[in-house]
């Protein structure tokens, strides 16, 4: 033995391992590895795309499958899963590192856009899509998700750029959604991205924050207008139908008056005619009778009766006695005179 370390190494006693077990170990290791690169499973929502030496070979459906080890490679594509991208905001689930699940973070540079009347709107939306053609999805476009994101932003701004800010914020939502959806699908087909757009959904669509109070003022003013109009209409409705009814009432009352008047006239007229016809039979005696009958009726009711001699002239002195200026005084002299004269 010398001190040369090489000599020492050479003379070191290796542990005695039988050659046979070494070969068995290596062979079984290789066998296991080969098995793992031969068998693969495709989950229900995916398909497996198999490449042989980098060349597309086949697409396999869910289930257990075999491929050639080492020369074939398999990529899974989730064709059934609905994928989605957020614009103008990010949900924490897509950015799980910070652990704030469900919380949203605004991305204003994506959301702020110009409208067709050169105003500014803040639009947030999501796009849901699916892989329709796994081959195109894998092989036609690099950084597909990013490209898709850029495209969608451009298409949304195109749509918003053709609308007034009022339209965008109020009634244009559905119109924008369907326009963007159609245009996006068109571009996806043009780029051969192998995607289908399921839907475009607008989330919060607002005027920019500094402008918002004035928008609220508009809706307030709108409500104020509606209130004023409604109040005026209410007042109108409170007065006019009633006036119509009252007008009807006045007319009906007049009709009543008219009926009354005419009927009375007819009644009195026919009474007179009847009496007159009878009177004509014996005018003198009837006249006498009527006069005396009337007197008979009147005189018992009269409070004071004063009989004056034919030649008495001082009637007034008599009257002053009772001092009753309030009393009705009837002097029959003239009447009798006239009555008599008319006979």
């Amino acid at each position: 033995m010398d001190d040369n370390p090489i000599e020492q190494f050479r003379n070191m006693k290796l542990p005695q391992v039988p050659l046979k077990s070494v070969i068995t170990g290596v062979v079984s290791l290789v066998a296991v590895f080969t098995l793992f690169s031969t068998v693969y499973q495709v989950e229900p929502e995916e398909v497996g795309v198999v490449l042989r030496f980098g060349q597309y070979s086949r697409t396999t459906n869910p289930g257990l499958h075999f491929k050639l080890p080492f020369v074939e490679a398999m990529t899974r594509v989730p064709v059934q899963r609905q994928l989605s991208q957020d614009f103008g905001f990010q949900t924490a689930s897509s950015n799980a590192r910070n652990g704030l699940a469900g919380q949203q973070r605004r991305v204003p540079e994506e959301a702020v856009m110009l409208t067709g009347d050169l105003n500014v709107a803040v639009v947030e939306w999501i796009v849901q899509y699916r892989v329709a053609d796994p081959r195109q999805y894998l092989f036609e476009v690099r950084n597909l998700e990013e490209t898709f994101h850029d495209m969608t932003e451009a298409v949304m701004r195109e749509a918003v750029g053709d609308r007034t800010v009022t339209e965008v914020v109020t009634i244009g939502r559905q119109d924008i959604e369907s326009t963007v959806e159609a245009r996006l699908q068109e571009l996806v087909n043009q780029y051969q991205m192998g995607l289908t757009i399921d839907q475009v959904v607008l989330q919060d669509v607002n005027p920019p924050d500094p402008v918002r109070p004035s928008w609220d003022e508009v809706s307030q003013a709108q409500q104020q207008r509606d209130r004023l109009i409604n109040e005026a209409l209410a007042e109108y409705n409170a007065v006019i139908p009633r006036a119509r009814g009252e007008a009807q009432q006045a007319i009906l009352q007049a009709e009543g008056y008219a009926l009354d008047r005419v009927n009375r006239a007819q009644g009195e007229g026919s009474r007179f005619s009847t009496i007159h016809a009878a009177y004509r039979q014996a005018p003198v005696v009837t006249r006498q009778r009527m006069y005396l009958e009337t007197m008979q009726q009147i005189l018992p009711q009269v409070g004071r009766k004063v009989f004056v001699a034919e030649d008495s002239t001082d009637v007034l002195s008599l009257l002053s006695l009772d001092g009753g200026a309030r009393a009705t005084t009837a002097t029959l002299t003239d009447t009798t005179e006239r009555t008599r004269g008319n006979q």
Binding site: G54, L118, I229, A247, A330
Partner: protein, 311 residues
């Protein structure tokens, strides 16, 4: 025996290395140019699969076959109507002539991206400066839909454009296509991703938007008051109409009835005017005389003439 095994292993290793260096794969996503001592010796190989080459001397240069992205940085650009905006564009491109691409850009994508940026940013700047802002924002002359705000006084209109966003991007694309073709690059499309006002302008725009909203709010208030006054006037007019019409009709009815009654009376009483006066007088006496009446009768009267001297 031991020695033979060693030779066998060495031989296998040698063959293995030789094989490894004389085959290469082309995948679905790339294309290859073989260079021998730096000299391209073949057309681009785009067919995916296993291919052969001369070992050691041939070098495989891979290029992307897919559509590639180019994402511009926001540029501050003035439009023709002197408005300063940030323009952010993106483009899709691909390598159509790898040989050219290799020769002109040494096959470096970083170089390609910066060449694209130079060309596209320049063309975008030119195009934007040639057009008014509205042309860049709008695509078509679509008419705005009726919003609830579109009362007659507050009609919102969109300015009419002659070129439009899509046409402008097409112009940029056309100009850039010629410039990039020398690099073996094809541009597929270019779009304005974002167009925004620069911050100072943005403040002005916000102020204008606020003023615009306030104007609309005023219109609403004024419309409300006006409409309310109109309805009030309508109410007063309708009321006057209803009441006066009713009055007229009632008076007409009364008048007609009065006339008819008068005619009836005249006809009946006219047969004997004197008798009418007699009976009506008697009737009146009956009605007017009561307990408060002092009745002075001359003994000469029709009633009392028998009192003094019964004949």
């Amino acid at each position: 025996m031991n020695r033979n095994l060693q030779i066998l292993v060495a031989l296998a290793l040698g063959v293995g290395i030789l094989l490894m260096t004389s085959v290469y794969t082309v995948t679905e996503i790339d294309q290859v140019i073989i260079t021998r001592f730096g000299e391209p010796i073949s057309d681009p190989i785009t067919r995916p699969g296993l291919h052969l080459k001369t070992p050691f001397v041939d070098k495989v240069n891979r290029f992307e076959k897919r559509f590639l992205e180019w994402d511009g940085v926001p540029n501050q650009v003035p439009t023709r109507d002197r408005r300063f905006i940030f323009v952010d564009t993106y483009a899709r491109w691909r390598i159509v002539d790898p040989l050219r691409y290799l020769e002109t850009l040494q096959g470096s994508e970083i170089t390609a991206q910066s060449r694209l940026a130079d060309i596209l940013d320049g063309e975008t700047r030119n195009a934007v400066a040639r057009h008014n802002l509205i042309e860049i924002v709008r695509t078509s002359n679509r008419q705005p839909a009726d919003t609830t705000i579109n009362i007659q006084e507050v009609q919102e209109t969109l300015e009419v454009i002659s070129t439009g966003r899509e046409e402008i991007t097409r112009e940029i694309l056309k100009a850039a296509t010629a410039a990039v073709s020398e690099y073996g690059i094809e541009l597929l499309d270019l779009k304005f991703k974002r167009i925004n006002y620069v911050p100072e302008v943005q403040q002005d725009v916000f102020a204008r938007m606020i003023a615009e909203r306030q104007r609309i709010a005023e219109e609403f208030r004024s419309e409300g008051q006006g409409e309310s006054a109109r309805i009030q006037g309508e109410r007063e007019r309708d009321l006057a109409q209803i009441q006066s019409e009713a009055f007229r009709e009632a008076e007409e009815l009364r008048g007609t009835a009065d006339a008819e009654a008068t005619q009836i009376y005249a006809e009946a009483y006219g047969r004997d005017e004197e008798f009418y006066a007699f009976t009506k007088s008697l009737e009146t006496y009956q009605r007017t005389m009561d307990s408060s009446t002092t009745f002075i009768l001359n003994t000469d009267s029709e009633l009392l003439r028998f009192l003094e001297q019964p004949r």
